[in-house]
Subunit: 465 residues, 2 copies
């Protein structure tokens, strides 16, 4: 109160010199703690604390008055210290480990520029750049034209596809809601990502209308069963409208047979969506792109460069074959305060109405800068490398005893690795398989010795169990 009444509020409240000094110091801490120590195999991947203890250590509560510079810098240090080092070579826990410095520079620049990807006037560079990056990704899919948008994550990209498929078939849904439509049904693999279910619930379609198609013993969707399930659904009075197929399932990395599925979609005139959030990056690889043969026949593809390509969270592209401006028609609200039609430039560059968001973060710059830095060939190498590591691991596991017997002890091994901070890897059951570890090994930072470390460490942590 004192302080406030003493300050002249007609003057700026931000001191640039002090602010820039602080940012400089924080940058040094980030470099040291997160990027140097945090990627050093001799250091821990996490510094485990029980929640109560961590809350105390961090002193999280916010207060009336501010804090001095040194205390704030210590906070930066503490946040870094107790956070998981997702760039550490022994972070095998999720599909976003690793670091790319060009991407990271792009992310810092994005944050500093702090703009919104909705109009050309507010984001001239990024409107053009997003367009170009989407074009580059579409080209890998095999499309010379089309549309697309970056979404805040693959779940949202998958949801968008669902909404577009619905709108294309029944445009009246936009004004009248689902009540004007017959009951719809969606088809997908039981190994599909849970975002299909979340999307169906959110969009008012309902979980019961997501129909799971049988998979073969490798986890690939069986086209014949898809055909039968579609017929069955029709006979039960529903209108099938969307098949969501997988290029790289979350747990096992399975690729559905897209060409066969496309035949079925053609036959029944259904929207074919490919959830390639995880696997899409194989399109960079001449060796592995056959896994997605037929993807060009899809209507939409969701692809997360924040996963296998290490572009950094969030970076998810929804790619569309459509050339009729469906995305904008489906999502537009034509707000006059933002999308004035009497502007002095081509208002088609105001892409904001393609999105259901208003503020939309710039997610293209980091990918663009990384792509410029290493080229498509560099990204191809990363994909090929991921496959080499995966194959090596499988071979080595076959040679070692005991790697089949992890199921009951997985939670205990997990607890031990976390508390010792030596590595992080996730486990789960699947179908009628009991608990197993899912090790993600796509990071460009990894070498073969990290694979050996993983195997040795699982053995060490579990040897008395």
């Amino acid at each position: 109160m004192e302080q406030a009444s003493l300050r002249d509020l007609n003057e700026p409240l931000i001191d640039h010199a002090e602010g820039q000094f602080f940012l400089n110091e924080a940058f040094k801490i980030i470099m040291e703690e997160v990027l140097s120590n945090g990627t050093d195999v001799k250091q821990k991947v996490c510094e485990w604390k029980e929640p109560e203890e961590l809350a105390l250590l961090l002193d999280l509560g916010v207060r009336e008055t501010g804090e001095p510079r040194d205390k704030l810098l210590q906070r930066v240090r503490d946040v870094a210290k107790y956070s998981v080092k997702t760039s550490h070579p022994h972070f095998f826990n999720q599909q976003y480990g690793g670091v790319d410095y060009h991407s990271l520079a792009g992310r810092f620049l994005t944050e500093a520029l702090n703009t919104n990807l909705f109009t050309y006037e507010a984001a001239p560079v990024f409107v053009l750049m997003e367009n170009e990056v989407l074009r580059g990704l579409r080209q890998l899919v095999g499309w010379t034209e089309g549309d697309g948008i970056f979404c805040p994550g693959g779940s949202t990209s998958n949801m968008y596809a669902m909404n577009l498929a619905r709108y294309q078939r029944f445009p009246e849904v936009k004004s009248q809601g689902v009540w004007a439509l017959p009951r719809l049904s969606i088809f997908t693999s039981p190994e599909s990502h849970y975002s299909v279910k979340k999307g169906a619930a959110f969009l008012g379609i309902g979980l019961d209308n997501v129909i799971f198609v049988k998979v073969d013993d490798r986890g690939r969707l069986i086209p014949e069963d898809l055909d039968e399930k579609i017929e069955l659904s029709k006979s039960q009075g529903a209108v099938p409208f969307l098949v969501s197929c997988m290029s790289g399932t979350t747990v096992q990395g399975v690729f559905d047979p897209l060409d066969h599925i496309a035949d079925i979609c053609d036959k029944h005139k259904l929207w074919m969506h490919v959830d390639a959030c995880w696997g899409g990056s194989v399109l960079f690889s001449k060796k592995h792109r056959h896994l997605m043969k037929g993807v060009d026949r899809a209507n939409s593809v969701a692809w997360n460069p924040h996963k296998m390509l290490v572009a950094g969270l969030q970076c998810s592209a929804l790619l569309l074959k459509d050339t009729t401006n469906l995305l904008k028609q489906c999502h537009s609200a034509n707000a006059t305060y933002l999308f004035q039609q009497d502007k002095f430039y081509d208002v088609n560059l105001d892409i904001g109405d393609k999105s259901v968001q208003c503020s939309r973060k710039v997610d293209c710059l980091k990918l663009w800068l990384m792509w410029k830095a290493v080229g498509s060939m560099g990204l191809e190498e990363r994909v090929d490398k991921a496959f080499i590591h995966a194959r090596y691991l499988v071979e080595q596991m076959k040679k070692r005893e005991g790697f089949q017997l992890l199921s009951m002890v997985a939670p205990v091994i997990k607890e031990r690795m976390m508390k010792q901070g030596t590595m992080m890897v996730g486990y789960q059951p699947l179908g009628n398989k009991v608990n197993f570890f899912r090790v993600t090994v796509f990071s460009p930072l990894l070498s073969q010795k990290d694979m050996d470390f993983f195997l040795d460490e699982i053995e060490r942590l579990g040897k008395d169990l």
Copy 2:
């Protein structure tokens, strides 16, 4: 091709030393171009280029091979140069101008740590921190308990509220979809943000079921008309379930009378949502918080610290009064690969299933660090300052001739300011009012002389018209 076959893919593809050097150099460019030059009133706020010319200048296309360091650093410089300087004091164009260095440090740290706010094991610090920040915001609303989540923007927060309101009333919607429900209706002000419409379309409710309530001559929703419209909708066979009211409309900054609206919601047992994306920050101010009197009676509040508080895009909180775990019940999919129930810590800390996203960016750290740095009092000052500037502008405009006559010439003045790069401010029509400029003046960087500059500049740009 050559290059790829020469590299040993068993070894890391990232060179940390080179990467960190690059990041360091990029940081210097960001400091200089974006934060020093970009906030200097003597420099341009934008460097206008026609799209075709800009595309050529930036050489956006991605290629097979990568580029050398110097070229990439030049690209960083170019992106900075041709991007709009949203931190510049003469960027009055949108609700997110300005910069806070503590927040920016938090954003850099967030990017470097690159984790996902879904489980305690992946984001121990941020699970606890988000919880604490949400608690702090809820306290300002007047709630000692409740729930909440950060969403990728206020549009998504508003959509979440809509889905929660629907689910609370009709939980069967999650499994059966909207077909199992009577036709629903939503009530809001015609001056509400377009995200209400986008949300209704996306969730399968439909634009026709969004009913606009009359506003008074200041733009405030009229509670009596709300009551009548609800009765009318019922009589037409719909089930009203949600009132979305405004604390700070996008264009005029109007605050709806929350207490009166709460009475109507009580009477009809409707979910009361407050879209305080823009205005919510008045809750920090003892002087201005009366504008939101009655907000504690709402069921949900959407509040964007990335607007008035300059926390940086994206930062939007959805706050809930609910204590029954509605958010999780409504959105959960219980994925076994992520939310294992046999973990060694309290699985209630795995908050990911509250979201319809899977990957979710950490949006709390930047707000937390800024809040720690300046305290609630510092944020209060910023809000009070915004009102002081707004009042000053109104007074000055009354004194100057010609400020009523802008309508026909607004697009021309806008074009001139952009091409000269002297300032940026948006214009639009509203209801039966013709084009006018909407000047946003909340940035803590501003001083009274920036207000004078704005007025002088409009006069200068328009004097021959």
